[in-house]
Amino acid sequence: MHNLLDDYALDNGLRDASPHLKLFLGLASMIICVSSSSPLAPLFVALTMSLATVLLAKIPGRIYSRLLLVPLSFALLSAAVVAFMHGGGTPLIQLPLLGLDLAVREEGAELALLLLARTFGGMCSLYFIALTTPMIEIFATLRSLCIPSSIIELSMMIYRYIFVFLDQAARIHSAQVMRLGDARARSAINSFAMLASVLFLRSWEQGERLVLAMDCRCYDGKLEMMEQAAKATGRQMLAAAAYLALASTIAVLSRDASLL
């Protein structure tokens, strides 16, 4: 059995909180992160969002940190490149390499730090949404934001069948591994190609069966939406507003601050 983000989204401490509020909180924090000119506010957002995800939503800390490692490793790499490539100021580190003058200068270092902090803060906000809000409620929220229903309906079905195909892909893969389909690099590539083509055919067939199933139940172009989940209480809204105000204040006050 796979353990997917979706499983956590469906069963966490903040599952019943208003999806509108969670989405708004996450998105607003992200905007604060990218518009802050110092790393302080993004780091504050990263810390608080992580605490909310782990303590309030009760997502296991180990899983959460492993999830964060993925984007963080990308961010570290790009920050390193930026640090070397950018800016002026006094050199902090110098690496003479084959006659090239590789150096991290002050401006470059600051920019790299900002980049890292923004990515970190943004990812924590995104994970806050992803780990606390199930897709089905995001669909309902999209509907209330007047997104065309055909787009929402398509995405709902795509969402539903992702799991059916994930399951099939996993089964095909095990069947291949059982017969040593991944023994050598060459056969692994072949197996993957086969898996992809079989999966394509199966999804085609599944599509035909889907039409059949919908016809059997008198499909007339309508798909019922889930009822809107809990509304946010006044206290929750107030708390969210206070949090966002605090984060923006930090962003404004620290606009000229530097960590170096």
Partner: protein, 385 residues
């Protein structure tokens, strides 16, 4: 007696696009309220035939009649027929396409154009019937196989069909789940719905169906009651089937002269009666029947405590859920009436908790048995205190 054929199939043939003949000259008429099993090996044409009945496939020649009217294949008539003839697919993942249980069950009613409030009521009713109240917001990939099948059935029930067609309803289900699903189908049939299932599980078909339609290579080979069809060894061999276990045992015992009688038993109860027709020296046990609809948990627990020495069984989804909530250990959850009669025959008392108006059915079943067998088993209806 004037019989109303709800579904009639006349001289129906069907060939696929490449000319392969899938069904040949099928003639069937089914009465309203019947309980039919289409039995046959893989590729016999069972599923194809089922898709003919609700107009998904159109016969190459011949006609399908619903309630005396030939099927029309324009959009409006098809909608009417598909609403009246609900189909449950073999693979629940084909059928459950909405991201939540609620949305899936609401799909049919919504497309029938019901107002939101009515949709909600129908979904609530259907989910309650299959025992999945509280599952509304769950996505189908978080359900077990049995739960998925229940949601699929609820999705059809919410459209109030007269006929339900189920393609291999128990494939891929564990034994307890499949017994529960079959019992639910029984309950629905008691409520007046015509039931058609396809299966290659001969034991299931034999025990459950009033009528067997045996198919092979796109043809209808035999139609009749269970014993007629399943006593014919040659026929079964040709159709790549085997006799049901009870029939097999009966035939072996009869050939050894241990059993006599012209009709094979339908189930274990009948087999036991054949083996021990009058050897009941001991006193018979009683069967208490209790309609638990509307009872609260406190009452149930106190009643169960008083009936400590009884075997306990529950029939119907409501009764089973109530028993689960009260933490009652149930001895029987399927085939309950038969099991309780078997216990009564060896002098043990039992209590049947029922729901959904199954009391009369249960009383009748026990009194029918008493009359036929001569064993006067007392069935006691427990009245609300």
């Amino acid at each position: 007696m004037a019989m109303t054929a709800i579904i009639e199939i006349r001289d129906l043939s069907y060939s696929y696009g490449d000319g392969t003949l899938a069904l040949k000259d099928i003639n069937i008429s089914l009465e309203e309220g019947c309980k039919v099993a289409l039995v046959g090996p893989n590729g016999a044409g069972k599923s194809t035939l089922m898709l003919m009945i609700n107009g998904i496939l159109r016969p190459t020649s011949g006609v399908v009649l619903f309630a005396g009217q030939p099927l029309q294949y324009d959009a409006a008539s098809l909608r009417a027929v598909r609403r009246a003839v609900g189909m449950v697919f073999q693979n629940s993942d084909d059928q459950l396409f909405a991201p939540t249980v609620y949305q899936d069950v609401a799909f049919g009613p919504t497309n029938l154009g019901y107002p939101a409030e009515k949709v909600k009521r129908y979904v609530g009713f259907a989910l309650q019937y299959v025992g999945l109240t509280g599952y509304e917001r769950r996505p189908p990939h978080h359900l077990s196989g049995g739960e998925k099948k229940r949601v699929a059935i609820a999705g059809i029930l919410a459209m109030e069909p007269q006929v339900m067609i189920l393609d291999e309803p128990t494939s891929n289900l564990d034994p307890a789940s499949s017994e529960e699903i079959m019992e639910m189908l029984d309950e629905l049939n008691q409520g007046g719905k015509t039931m058609i299932i396809s299966t290659h599980d001969v034991d299931l078909a034999y025990r459950w169906a009033d009528e067997i339609i045996l198919m092979k290579d796109g043809e209808l080979v035999r139609r009749g009651c269970g014993p007629d069809v399943f006593m014919d060894g040659n026929l079964l061999r040709e159709a790549r089937l085997k006799p049901p276990l009870v029939v097999d045992i009966y035939q072996e015992l009869a050939s050894r002269g241990i059993l006599s009688g012209s009709r094979p038993p339908r189930n274990i109860l009948e087999l036991c009666d054949l083996l021990q027709p009058e050897g009941r020296g001991r006193p018979l046990g009683k069967i208490y029947i209790w309609d638990v609809d509307g009872e609260d948990e406190v009452q149930v627990i106190s009643m169960i405590d008083r009936m400590e020495n009884c075997y306990k069984g529950a029939m119907g989804t409501g009764a089973k859920l109530l028993a689960e909530r009260c933490g009652i250990h149930l001895d029987f959850t399927y085939g309950v009436i038969d099991k309780c009669i078997l216990k009564a025959l060896i002098g043990k008392d039992s209590l049947i908790m029922t729901s959904g108006g199954m009391v009369e059915h249960t009383m009748k079943r026990i009194s029918d048995y008493s009359r036929e067998s001569g064993a006067d088993i007392e069935a006691v209806k427990i009245q609300r205190p």
